[in-house]
C-alpha cells in the first residue's frame, strides 16, 4: 500500500515538474549552454564548446565598466532603500492609528502599479523642466536646473522607489516579532529612546534588515526597465548590456555570457549572505527562540 501511495505521489508531482522543467529549467540550462558556445561558429545558435567567452567578455573594459556601474548602483539603491524603508517599517509596525491598514496598502500597492508608470513619474519629477527643478528654481535655491535624471542619480532614486516595498516587508517581518515588553523592560531600567533603539530594537531587527538588504541588492543589480528609462542611454548596466547584445548586436553568445555572470553573481551574493551573515544574525534570531 505504501508503495502505491508513493508512486501516485510521484505521478501527481510529475505534471507540474514537467511544466517547470520545460519552461524554466531547460531554458536556463540552454542559457548556460549558449555561454559556452563558440561565437565564431555562430552568434545566435549554440555551436561548439569553449570557455573563452568568459575570459573575453568579462575582461572587456566595457563590460567591466558595466559591472562596476551595476554593483555601484546596487549598493546605493540598497542603502537608500534601507534608509527610507526602516523608518516606515518602524512606523507601520508600531502605529495604532486606524489608518494603519490604508497606509500599509499605500506602501505596498506600488508593487502592483506598472514599473513603467512609476518610471514615467520620476521623469516628470526629476527632468530639467520637471517638478523638483521647477520648485527649486522658484524658491531660488538653485539658479540652474539640476541634472537629476538620465544619469546614475536618477536610476538610483527610481530603483530605490521601486524596491522600497520589498525592504519594508522584510524589515517589518522582523520588527513585528519584537515584543513590546522588551522595550518596556529597557525603559524601566533607565534607557532613553535612542538607547532603546540602539540596544534593543535595531539588533533584534537585524534578521529582517539582512534579508531585506539581500533581496533589494539582488533585485537592484538585475533590474532592467528603470535603468533603461531613467539612464538616458548613457548609463550602461549589465542587464542593459545584455539587452543590447540581443536586440541590436545580435551576439547571443556574448549576451548569454553576461547574463550567466549576473546569475552567478546573484547566487554568490546569496551564498555569502547565508554563510557569513547568518552566523552574525542568528544570535539575535528571535524565530529560533520562539
Amino acid at each position: 500500500m505504501h508503495r502505491r501511495n508513493t508512486s501516485i505521489r510521484i505521478l501527481l508531482f510529475a505534471l507540474p515538474l514537467l511544466y517547470l522543467a520545460a519552461l524554466f529549467i531547460v531554458p536556463l540550462i540552454n542559457l548556460f549552454r549558449m555561454s559556452l558556445a563558440d561565437p565564431s561558429l555562430s552568434k545566435t545558435k549554440a555551436q561548439g564548446w569553449t570557455l573563452a567567452n568568459f575570459g573575453n567578455v568579462l575582461l572587456d573594459p566595457v563590460v567591466i565598466d558595466a559591472m562596476i556601474t551595476t554593483f555601484r548602483i546596487g549598493v546605493f539603491v540598497t542603502l537608500l532603500a534601507l534608509l527610507i524603508g526602516y523608518p516606515i517599517s518602524l512606523f507601520l509596525t508600531r502605529t495604532r492609528s486606524r489608518w494603519r491598514g490604508v497606509l500599509l496598502a499605500l506602501t505596498l500597492a506600488p508593487i502592483f502599479i506598472s514599473i513603467v508608470v512609476r518610471s514615467y513619474g520620476w521623469i516628470v519629477l526629476l527632468s530639467k523642466r520637471g517638478v523638483i527643478n521647477s520648485i527649486l528654481l522658484q524658491l531660488g535655491v538653485t539658479s540652474q536646473p539640476l541634472h537629476l535624471i538620465f544619469n546614475e542619480f536618477g536610476i538610483i532614486i527610481g530603483t530605490a522607489h521601486v524596491l522600497l516595498p520589498f525592504m519594508v516587508l522584510s524589515v517589518m517581518g522582523s520588527l513585528q516579532v519584537i515584543e513590546p515588553s522588551l522595550e518596556s523592560a529597557a525603559v524601566s531600567l533607565g534607557a532613553r529612546p535612542w538607547r532603546v533603539f540602539r540596544d534593543i530594537i535595531w539588533p533584534l531587527s537585524l534578521p529582517g534588515v539582512g534579508a531585506g538588504i539581500l533581496l533589494v541588492f539582488i533585485l537592484a543589480i538585475s533590474t532592467f526597465v528603470t535603468p533603461m528609462l531613467l539612464g538616458g542611454q548613457v548609463v550602461m548596466t549589465l542587464p542593459i548590456l545584455a539587452f543590447q547584445q540581443f536586440t541590436s548586436v545580435f551576439n547571443w553568445v556574448e549576451g548569454s555570457t553576461v547574463i550567466v555572470f549576473l546569475l552567478v553573481s546573484v547566487v554568490i551574493v546569496s551564498i555569502i549572505y547565508e554563510r557569513a551573515l547568518r552566523r552574525k544574525l542568528s544570535t539575535v534570531d528571535l524565530s529560533r527562540i520562539k
Binding site: P27, L104, A109, G121, W122, H161, A211, V225, V266
Partner: protein, 267 residues
Amino acid sequence: MNIDHPAFRAVIVAIFAFILAPIVVVIAASVSTTNYVSFPPSGFTLRWFVELVTIQIYVDALQYSFVVAVITTLISLAVGTWVALLLRSTQKGRALLQTLFLSPILLPEIALGIGLLQYFSMIGFVRGMIATILAHSIICTPYVIRSVAAVATRLKVSLEESALVLGARPLRVLRDVTIPLLKPGLIGGAVMAFLISFDNVTISMFLAAPGAITLPALLFNQAAESGLNTSLAAISALLVFFTIAVIVLMSWLVGLDKFFAATASSK
C-alpha cells in the same frame, strides 16, 4: 521609542510623499492641455483620455494584455493550487520542492526573458501570445502557490477527514470541502497573478511579436524611443486607476491584510 514624536512624524510624511509622488504626478500630468508633459499641468482637459480610444495600437495592446493576463491567471491558478495542495500533504523533501517551485521569482527576470527567447527560437517556437502566456505563467504561479499555501496550512486536516468518514471520496472532498475553504487564497492568488502578468514589461518585451505586444511593453518602447508625452501619461493614469480598482475589489472580497500577508516575500 516614541513614534509620535513630531520630528519622526515629519520624516514619515516626507517618505510617504516620496512613495506617492511619481504616481500622483503622472496622473496630474495626464490632464494637461499641452502635448509635452509639464507639471503643474497647464490647463485641464480629458481629451488625451478620449483620444486613446482612437489610437489603435494602444487599444490593441490593452486588449492583448488583458487576454494574456486572464489566460495566465487561469493557468497559474490551476498549477499553483495543485502544487500548493501537493506540498501540503508532503513531508519528505517539502522544503526542497517548495524552493524549486518558487525559484522562478528568485532569479532575475531578465535571465528568464532572455533564456526563453533563445530557447523558443532554438526549438522553433514562435514568439507571440502563447509564448508570452507560458512565460507569464511561470512567474505568476509561485505567487499563487504562496497565496494558496498560506491558507492551506491553516486548513485543519480533520475537516477533510471528517468528510472522508462521512462517505465522501477524495475528489468529492476536494470539491465540497477543500476548494471552498481555500477561496481567500485562490482569490488573492488570482489577483496577484493577474496584476503581475498585466504589468509585466521585461519578459513581455522579449517575447513580443509585431501586433502582439502588451501595453506596458508598448509604453516602454515608446518612452525609450520618443520620450514622454501626455498621451503616455494618460494611459499610465488609466493603468493606475485600473490597478487600484482591482486591489479595492479584491480587498472587498477577501480583506486587505490577507492579501498583503500573502504578498510578503522572504528569501
